[in-house]
């Protein structure tokens, strides 16, 4: 049987180990897990290389959803309402955003695909979400996306929703400077 002090030290080591597990191990583990499984509707974050292999005779409906995260000063929408696509074929579409702030701003778009099972078949070859986007004051930008939906897409999926959320890369505290007086006031009362 260990003495009191050595047992206490071992238990302390266990506690430190669990802190390391929570702080250092879990976050990367989580990302890898989501990447492998496509959970959370995460799609590829860098350009994929895929060859075209259209699955003629199959048609899937693609819908777009755009959102702007709280306090981010942008107007953001899809260039079209949606499209009919053939799995395995290459498509281009555009999204449009306008910087509403009176100074330059940097945005980061974060994509997500629903249903989640479709996420890993949705391959982006080019996307404005791969990098941050810089906007001059009041600038309007047309932003392209080029993608292929893999023809291995499970047969029961007939509709895919691609959503983008626009985030301000500045922290909430700095970004609130861009808000109008009223909204800033509102934000304060949330506290």
């Amino acid at each position: 049987m260990p003495g009191a002090n050595s047992l206490a030290l071992r238990l302390l080591a266990m506690a430190l180990g669990m802190f390391g597990f929570g702080f250092l191990v879990l976050p990367p583990l989580y990302s890898v897990f989501c990447e492998i499984t496509g959970l959370g509707g995460k799609t590829n974050q860098t350009a994929a290389v895929v060859a075209e292999a259209p699955d003629q005779g199959r048609s899937v409906k693609l819908e777009f959803v755009t959102a702007v995260n709280a306090y981010a000063p942008w107007e953001f929408h899809a260039g079209s309402d949606g499209m009919e696509i053939t799995p395995g074929a290459l498509y281009d579409t555009t999204f449009v955003a306008k910087n509403l702030a009176n100074r330059s701003k940097i945005a980061q778009a974060v994509p997500s695909v629903a249903p989640q099972q479709a996420a890993k078949y949705f391959k982006k070859l080019e996307c404005f979400c791969f990098t941050t986007q810089e906007f001059a004051a009041g600038e309007v930008k047309q932003m392209p996306v080029r993608f292929i939906v893999d023809s291995d897409l499970p047969a029961h999926i007939d509709t895919i929703t691609l959503s983008y959320t626009f985030f301000d890369t500045e922290r909430v505290s700095d970004a609130s400077a861009d808000l109008s007086h009223e909204t800033a006031h509102e934000r304060h009362s949330i506290h």
């Binding site: 049987m1 260990p2 003495g3 009191a4 047992l7 206490a8 238990l11 302390l12 266990m14 506690a15 430190l16 180990g17 669990m18 802190f19 390391g20 597990f21 929570g22 702080f23 879990l26 976050p27 989580y30 990302s31 989501c34 499984t37 959970l39 959370g40 509707g41 974050q45 995260n69 980061q108 974060v110 989640q116 099972q117 959320t165 985030f167 301000d168 890369t169 922290r171 909430v172 934000r187 304060h188 009362s189 949330i190 506290h191």
Partner: protein, 543 residues
């Protein structure tokens, strides 16, 4: 093991000057408490602190219930309401329930295993005194610009990152609470492993000691994970990381996974010691040994193990593949099996027993019935398809209050009534104790039962205002809450009277032939007990 006992005794010598006091009685005045290393003094401080937090947290609950008495906004602004729900939960979980059990552990574990004190008395002092610091910091946020944290005790980002100046203080106080719990847990484990009287093998340990041993391991496993999670919140806010910020490639849902990896074991941290208390009390008043002692140990251990693989039942609605939902649903339901074993064993203990219904027994019986109701609503929540409707509704509020108030808190009250005569040497007022029991039991049901209906009817949790069809049940719940709150003043009165030695003298055994070493020492328990390891004789046999 004998050497370990002498080892711990050696600590006394290190204390130099204190040495003399240590063996003859407590120091005088404030020094006794500030420099306390005696397990009974520290246990008392934990219990008093917990009682104080119980009333502060309770006052916040009454602010919440007053606001919800009728629809519309009456007393507090929505932002204050949200501060109240958040602070109420943090104070009750970390300030009232957990310290109360640590206080009971300090008082009782050494006396139940025949040890002279806790193994690490210096650390024991620290783990207590960190708590008042942590809660002063937490409560000072009520007076800061932007107010106290208001994003819920679960601290989900990104909402929690909008907390005003209070944010870093919230994180720091959670760190301190975690530190205190971990130190307390290490102390409990080392005491139990190293300081048992030589004749007490592990399986001969009383159930309260067993459940605390398991709880302490849970604490060491999950409190650091909570510390990690809140540290990530801190760095996200101030040091430019993006653990939980989508814009920087992070994921807010990851916080929920990490939080509940802590959070579900945490709910068992709050209930396992209560299981232990009830397992001590029911045999005494049924006058039969605990049915299935060993199966109780295995049940508690499997509950502890399973509690690590069910966390996502708190997040069925975040979007999860079907296989994940099914896994977490079935794993959650599996916990009902060992829990059922425990309920069965308590019931079997009473079967054909010569039962009497003194206050500790009444609280234990109410625990048995009402905790089980909470277990059943938990099972309903575990069913994915129904949880999607119940989640974040008052049904969840009803569930966790049934397991926490008539569960954990009744367990604590039962323990206080059961051991108070041993601590003070005097009986509490039995008649008043029973009045306190009935008031508490009636009002707890008046408060929380209607919340089931509110939740099923669709009332969301954490809102200061509601639509008018919810009025009746809310008014009933508010009346119950006020009744419950006032009833607890009676509890304070009863305890204070007993501490002031107003009751009749308690005998050494206090109850009729109770089992356990704690009943072999005089009442009140002397400042130092078991300076020599006792025999686990016939009077203290655990079958």
């Amino acid at each position: 093991m004998v050497s370990a006992v002498t080892d711990a005794h050696g600590h006394g010598k290190d204390r130099g000057q204190d040495h003399g006091h240590d063996h003859h009685g407590p120091a005088k005045g404030w020094r006794r408490w500030l420099y306390a290393t005696n397990h009974k003094d520290i246990g008392t401080m934990y219990l008093v602190f917990s009682g104080l937090m119980f009333f502060i947290g309770g006052t916040m609950a009454l602010v919440i219930r007053s606001e919800l008495f009728t629809p519309g906004l009456q007393f507090v602004a929505p932002n204050v309401f949200n501060q109240m729900t958040t602070m109420h939960a943090l104070i009750m979980v970390f300030g009232a329930v957990m310290p109360a059990f640590v206080g009971l552990a300090n008082w009782m574990i050494p006396m139940m295993i025949g040890a002279p004190d806790m193994a690490l008395p210096r650390m024991n002092n620290w783990s207590f005194w960190i708590l008042p610091a942590a809660f002063s910091i937490l409560m000072s946020t009520l007076f800061m610009p932007g107010g106290a944290p208001a994003g819920g005790w679960t601290m989900y980002p990104p909402l929690v990152l909008q907390t005003g100046d209070a944010f870093p203080f919230l994180i720091f106080s959670v760190h301190l609470m975690g530190l205190s719990s971990i130190m307390g847990a290490i102390n409990v484990i080392v005491t139990i492993i190293n300081m048992r009287t030589p004749e007490m093998s592990l399986l001969k340990m009383p159930m309260f000691v067993w459940t605390w041993l398991i709880t302490a391991y849970l604490l060491i496993a999950v409190m650091p994970v909570l510390a990690g999670a809140v540290t990530m919140l801190l760095t996200d806010q101030f040091f430019g990381t993006s653990f939980f910020l989508a814009a920087g490639g992070g994921d807010p849902v990851m916080f929920q996974h990490i939080f509940w990896f802590f959070g579900h074991p945490e709910v068992y941290i709050m209930i396992l010691p209560a299981f232990g208390v009830v397992s001590e009390i029911i045999p005494t008043f049924a006058r039969k040994p605990l049915f299935g002692h060993d199966s109780m140990v295995y049940a508690a251990s499997s509950i502890a193990f399973l509690s690590f693989i069910v966390w996502a039942h708190h997040m069925f609605t975040v979007g999860m593949p079907l296989t994940g939902q099914l896994f977490f649903m079935f794993a959650t339901m599996l916990i009902a099996v060992p829990t059922g074993v425990k309920v069965f064993n308590w019931t079997a203990t009473m079967w054909k027993g010569a039962m009497t219904f003194e206050t500790p027994m009444l609280f234990s019986l109410a625990f048995l019935f009402l905790f089980t109701i909470g277990g059943f609503s938990g099972l309903m929540l575990a069913v994915v398809s129904s949880d999607i409707q119940y989640h974040d509704s008052y049904f969840v509020v009803a569930h966790f209050h049934y397991v926490l108030v008539p569960g954990s808190i009744f367990g604590i009250m039962a323990a206080v009534y059961y051991w108070l005569p041993k601590w003070t040497g005097h009986m509490y007022n039995e008649k008043l104790g029973q009045v306190h029991f009935w008031l508490s039991t009636i009002f707890v049901n008046v408060t929380f039962f209607p919340m089931h209906f509110l939740g099923l009817a669709g009332m969301p949790r954490r809102i200061p205002d509601y639509s008018t069809q919810f009025t009746d049940f809310n008014s009933i719940a508010s009346i119950g809450a006020i009744g419950f709150g006032i009833s607890q003043l009676l509890f304070v009165y009863i305890v204070v009277q007993c501490v002031r030695k107003r009751g009749s003298r308690a005998s050494d055994t206090v109850w009729e032939n109770p089992k356990g070493l704690e009943w072999t020492v005089p009442s009140p328990a002397p400042y130092h007990t078991f300076t020599q390891p006792p025999h686990v004789g016939a009077g203290a046999a655990f079958s």
